[in-house]
Symmetry: C2
DNA sequence: TATTGTTATACTCTATAACTATA
DNA sequence: TATAGTTATAGAGTATAACAATA
């Protein structure tokens, strides 16, 4: 067998772990016809009724430019509605249909998180999550745009 | 401030940590005009002279279809050369110029790995890497194609 | 029949620049 | 001037299907 020079590189493992994580989430969300970014926004709105797009962007770390089509798609599926709060920004709320979908998405994501943690031996879990927080915060300062 | 319902979801943290990791790597490789996938392949070939594309695919978890243009680009930059081993497969080797670039890429990646680990408190590092291995192995079975 | 490599295509997330309208 | 949102475009990684040539 071939040597993998990166087999024990944390960054390499991190990337592959993230891919495994994403693929598992995609599989769970596909039946709901939701992409991960869409599900994130939907659930964020549900947790913060009336939130504006720019607030959602800041909280989720999504670039403003990418939020626009994302919310449009949620709106076109009647999961989310936009109501003007002033001349230039909208308050976002989840529609009744949206709440149904959000409920299912939330269940899938929670089930996924459990599955993910279950893949890690119990005694490593806390350190794992804590370590991730440090790295995730790494370039949180380098704001998008 | 807005509530982030995912702030403590391991999967969410994993994804953001991976993004931070990738952005840092991209910044380091940009001056070398190498993408991460290209650097990975270049260094894999250097560690395994004569390796074939399909072997490289299996080892790095890259789909065959994506390896083709990747190696083509490395070849067009005279970093890697293909020599037929049988009628349908090529052995890949790193050219003298390639070795220079590989050396620099290796230094950047190693420096990055150090920086990454340094962002994690010392007492968490071992658990962190170990936990990542479990998750990275998660869908290693679900082979690409 | 199975394997190697290739092409074409598509999906998802992310990123930047330029623009309109409003504050 | 700064902010909110939009549009267009691009880059990077990943994925599938279909194909030719070879084993």
């Amino acid at each position: 067998m071939i040597k993998n020079p990166f087999a024990d590189y944390p960054g390499y493992l991190l990337r592959h772990a993230s891919n495994a994580n994403l693929n598992a989430i995609y599989d769970r969300l596909r039946p709901l016809d939701l992409r991960l970014a869409e599900a994130s926004v939907l659930l964020l709105i549900q947790a913060n009724p009336g939130v504006t797009q720019s607030e959602a962007c800041q909280t989720l770390g999504i670039a403003r430019a990418n939020m626009a089509p994302l919310v449009s798609r949620l709106e076109s599926k009647d999961l989310v509605s936009r109501t003007p709060v002033d001349g230039r920004s909208y308050g976002l709320t989840v529609s009744p249909q949206g709440k149904e979908v959000a409920k299912r998405a939330d269940a899938e994501l929670k089930a996924h998180e459990k599955e993910l943690l279950d893949a890690v031996p119990k005694e490593l879990r806390q350190s794992f999550v804590e370590a991730l927080s440090y790295i995730a915060a790494f370039n949180a300062a380098e704001q998008t745009e």
